[in-house]
């Protein structure tokens, strides 16, 4: 990864992390504020609900009180006590309920059995355990003829007949429904929804409920959650099934339960919900009041802030890119040029130079680099000069060595020829012929040596091509192996080559000449014969 990329990544991460941290902090703070507000509104509503509940209870109690104190009821109680015949009063409760504006009304005889029932007229003669309730008002689930139950606030009053208190009185059990009409009367804040869940379904155990209809008997075994039993102020509640967890928790624990409910898959449709159990006098949960406050405002605020954060992060990353480009222009680009120049130097181009701009560390580095390459070039020049001198010296030494060898025979021949002047003509001619032959041969040898040096000085420009080194070696061996066999001192050639091809970029003629020189030199160096080994390895 290049420095530029590292800088870009570093800047981007820094900006993104900073924005994320700020956004997260703001989001958490908003959530806390909204939750605090929801808690306050829920608490306020609960207190209002309790007041309304007490008010409704007081209304029920007052209505039952008025009815119990009426002359009509006193006469009814008296006649009932005297005759013991409850049949004439079968429809009395319905009339009284209408007069008292009560939803539930039952007249219960001294024997504890229903004389007349407004909500279920056919229940006459059955016991009504609620008639002996100790509480002034209480919550009760009332069974209805259609098999459903209804939740209501009830009050029980005894009808005074002016007789002995020891005699069991006629009692009135009156009540009002706690239903969606009641919910509609409750003041709710904007975004708040009030729902009531009660087990108003079909009675699962009719035999028990009719004959032993104690209030706790039907409430002690909560039925499975049924979304249809959750009603709001304006009827059925959408996504009622989502309330199950919260309502079940309140029903089972008997304590309020709170949580966040997601009514749909959209976060905007989530609500902050509180389930408040409503209990009868025995502590059994008869219904659950749910208070939900929409989290749409909070979610929208969070989404708004999140959108801003995304925008800021994007702008920050863009800024980071620009910064990294600028910094790259100021810092990384000279370094990159230095790196490229160093690679060129490594490749042999010692004349490479980098621009020397600025007074910062990069500028110093560039100047030092240029100085270093200049020094290197200078030292190389001196080294080349030294090597050249050494080469000329070696060349002169070898030339002298090469020339000295034929000169010595030439000298001896000339001296011999000079001495031969003293000899007879025939012998002189013989010596002359031999001497001229020797001189010619040695002069030819000198020409050869000089030609070789001439060829060396005229070193042609190599023409490179891809050859196999094995072929070049084989060519040399085949050329000189026969000569080796003809020599008196027999030279045996031994070739050690790899089985694999050994490609090589070289001028084939120059390479052949070089290797031929080496072989000839070697053969020259082995006057006693021996083994000349040619080997090459990839």
């Amino acid at each position: 990864m290049s420095l530029r990329q590292k800088l870009l990544l570093l800047f981007s991460l820094t900006v993104a992390a900073a924005v994320a941290a700020v956004a997260w902090t703001v989001l958490v703070r908003i959530r806390l504020v909204f939750e605090q507000r929801d808690q306050q509104e829920t608490a306020l509503f609960v207190s209002q609900f309790q007041r309304e509940f007490q008010h409704r209870s007081a209304e029920v109690a007052a209505a039952v009180d008025r009815t119990a104190a009426s002359e009509r009821m006193r006469v009814l109680a008296l006649e009932l006590a005297q005759s013991g015949d409850a049949s004439p009063y079968l429809n009395e409760a319905q009339t009284l309920a209408q007069d008292a504006q009560l939803d539930f009304f039952e007249i219960v005889g001294p024997d504890g059995k229903i004389v007349s029932s407004a909500q279920w007229p056919a229940r006459f003669g059955y016991p009504e355990p609620a008639a002996t309730a100790a509480a002034a008002t209480f919550l009760k689930r009332e069974e209805l003829p259609d098999g459903t139950t209804a939740l209501g606030i009830f009050a029980v009053r005894a009808v005074r007949r002016g007789e002995s208190a020891a005699e069991p009185p006629v009692r009135l059990v009156g009540g009002k429904r706690l239903d969606q009409g009641f919910l509609a009367d409750l003041p709710v804040a904007p975004g708040m929804q009030i729902c009531l869940y009660s087990d108003a379904g079909l009675n699962q155990n009719p035999e028990v409920s009719v004959t032993e209809a104690a209030p706790s008997a039907t409430a002690s075994s909560p039925t499975p959650f049924d979304p249809r039993h959750l009603v709001g102020a304006y009827g059925e509640v959408a996504s009622a099934a989502r309330y199950q967890t919260l309502i079940d928790a309140a029903r089972q624990s008997g304590q309020p339960a709170s949580g966040i409910l997601y009514l749909t898959d959209r976060r905007e449709d989530s609500v902050s919900a509180t389930a408040i159990p409503l209990k009868d006098g025995s502590g059994n949960v008869l219904a659950v009041l749910t208070v939900t406050i929409s989290r749409a405002g909070m979610v929208q605020a969070q989404q708004h802030i999140r959108a801003i954060a995304y925008g800021v992060a994007a702008a920050g990353i863009l800024f980071a890119i620009l910064c990294s480009l600028w910094i790259a222009a100021r810092v990384s680009r000279p370094i990159e040029r230095l790196a490229a120049a160093a690679e060129e130097v490594a490749g042999g181009n010692w004349e490479t130079r980098v621009p020397e701009g600025g007074r910062d560390e990069v500028g110093v580095l560039a100047r030092s680099f240029n100085h270093m390459t200049a020094q290197l070039a200078s030292q190389r020049e001196r080294l080349v000069q030294t090597e050249r001198v050494a080469a000329w010296r070696e060349l002169a030494r070898r030339l002298a060595h090469e020339l000295k060898n034929p000169l010595f025979p030439l000298q001896l021949t000339v001296e011999n020829l000079a001495r031969a002047r003293q000899l007879p003509e025939a012998e002189f001619d013989e010596v002359f012929r031999e001497s001229t032959a020797t001189l010619g041969m040695e002069i030819a040898n000198l020409k050869t040596i000089i030609g070789r040096f001439s060829d060396f000085s005229k070193m042609p420009k190599p023409e490179l091509e891809r050859i196999d080194a094995r072929d070049a070696i084989e060519r040399v061996r085949s050329l000189y192996e026969a000569a080796g066999d003809q020599d008196a001192a027999k030279i045996r050639f031994e070739v050690q080559l790899s089985a694999q091809s050994m490609p090589l970029d070289a001028d084939p003629e120059l390479l052949h000449r070089a290797m031929s020189n080496l072989v000839l030199n070697a053969m020259d160096a082995m006057p006693e014969g021996g083994t000349l080994t040619l080997s090459a390895q990839p």
């Binding site: 409850a86 049949s87 004439p88 079968l90 279920w120 007229p121 056919a122 229940r123 006459f124 003669g125 059955y126 003829p145 259609d146 098999g147 079909l202 009675n203 009719p206 035999e207 409920s209 009719v210 004959t211």
Partner: protein, 441 residues
């Protein structure tokens, strides 16, 4: 059974009698208008014996397999056409179709001949019933096709239709009635009036004759209404479906044992009913005590045998008291472990239990029993005439527990002070042809 006659001893002709009823005045069994417009071949007297009406004589042959009824001469329909045996046969065929007690009916001269695959010992009494009243076929077809109370049915009764005005049926006296002209000139029958409205109209003088349900008889007397009450003529019974889970006879027997007849009689029907466990009332047979009407909840639970039947439904087409009785029965059955719901009266549907009222068409035991059995779909003729035989027939039928007798109820009417000589027939229907008005000219 009859209202006391006022000081004026001789009835006067004329006037309009205003009658209000809760149901349809033209309906069978309880509709007042039908019996005023139409006559049967026979009629029942106070003892339940068949008496001549449109037929003045009859004879049986072949062991009650063949009956020949001679038509009364000189009888005319309201449009002036003569009553003929052909018209009678056409009317009877159109009226009852395949559910007739006879196999074939044909006109032979001025006689009508009935033949049956099985003996028809009670045919004269059965022919007095609402189902076999005689009307002109053309008018009958027109009346039944529309499904509404027809203003154009032509019969031979003491009154004839004149118009149907705003739900009020107006009948005019038939001057040429074979029984003689009725006393009142006109009868106005307003149907579909609630009992409360009827009583209000009676109290303010807008009605002369109104209905008094059995459960409100005590209230009517407390209000000092002039009431004519029949003997117990309506059988309140619970019909139990013989299918599904109730195909189990033990469950049907459990239902019969779980119903609290006492509560129905004493409270809902305000002690005006007569507890019944048999089809015929005790006054007719004397053996009713042999059928137990006691409630035995433990035995009912035992017969249920721990079974938890699926939810059952009960329905009734009656008024508020019948609905209340149905609710009470549902409550009784829930005690025995049956989950019973009362069906919505406004939504007709099949129900497992039906609370119904059956009219005892004849107070002749054998004919009455056969008419009741026919009313619940049992077409077997009752041939036994002795109490032991009748008891056996009843016992065999009731042991199936597809019909559970509960109460016998009377029918009652309250009349204004201008109505005199009001009498109720053996089926509890008012005999308006004999009624006259006090203030008639």
């Amino acid at each position: 059974m009859a209202l006391p006659a006022s000081a004026r001893t001789r009835p006067h002709y004329g006037g309009t009698l205003r009658v209000e009823v809760e149901g349809d005045a033209w309906q069978r069994n309880a509709g007042l208008a039908r019996r005023l417009v139409l006559d049967g071949l026979t009629r029942l007297d106070a003892e339940g014996t068949a008496q001549p009406a449109l037929a003045d004589s009859w004879a049986t042959e072949s062991g009650n397999h063949l009956w020949q009824f001679g038509l009364r001469p000189g009888v005319h329909f309201h449009d002036g056409s003569a009553l003929t045996s052909t018209a009678v046969v056409a009317s009877l065929t159109a009226a009852c179709g395949a559910s007739c007690p006879w196999t074939a009916v044909r006109a032979v001269g001025s006689s009508v001949v009935f033949t049956g695959d099985s003996p028809m010992p009670n045919l004269p009494a059965l022919l007095a019933g609402d189902n076999y009243l005689i009307a002109l076929t053309e008018s009958w077809s027109a009346s039944t096709a529309g499904g509404v109370t027809p203003p154009n049915v032509k019969g031979t009764g003491p009154f004839q239709f004149t118009e149907l005005n705003n739900g009020k049926l107006i009948l005019a006296a038939n001057d040429s009635c074979w029984q003689g002209r009725p006393f009142v000139d006109k009868i106005e029958i307003a149907g579909h009036k609630s009992i409360r409205d009827q009583w209000l109209d009676l109290s303010v003088g807008r009605a002369d004759l109104v209905e008094v349900p059995a459960e409100q008889l005590r209230q009517a007397r407390e209000q000092h209404l002039t009431v004519a009450v029949s003997p117990p003529v309506e059988l309140l019974a619970l019909a139990v479906a013989d299918g599904g889970i109730l195909a189990n006879p033990n469950l049907r027997a459990a239902i019969a044992l779980a119903v609290d007849r006492g509560a129905l009689s004493n409270v809902i029907f305000q002690k005006q009913g007569e507890i019944a466990a048999s089809l015929l009332p005790s006054a007719l047979t004397g053996y009713s005590f042999l059928f137990s009407a006691d409630r035995d909840l433990n035995k009912a639970r035992e017969l249920r045998g721990g079974l938890t039947p699926p939810p059952l439904t009960i329905s009734t087409d009656g008024g508020a008291a019948m609905q209340l009785a149905a609710q009470r029965i549902a409550l009784n059955l829930r005690e025995a472990g049956f989950n019973v719901q009362v069906a919505d009266p406004g939504r007709p549907q099949f129900t497992d239990l039906v609370l119904l009222r059956l009219t005892l068409a004849s107070n002749h035991p054998r004919a009455g029993l056969e008419s009741l059995l026919r009313a619940v779909g049992v077409a077997t003729p009752v041939q036994e005439s002795d109490p032991a035989g009748l008891y056996r027939v009843e016992r065999e039928f009731l042991d199936t527990h597809t019909l559970i007798p509960l109460l016998y109820l009377p029918r009652a009417y309250a009349a204004s002070g201008r109505v005199r000589d009001l009498r109720l027939g053996p089926d509890g229907a008012p005999l308006l042809a004999g009624v006259s008005l006090e203030d008639a000219p």
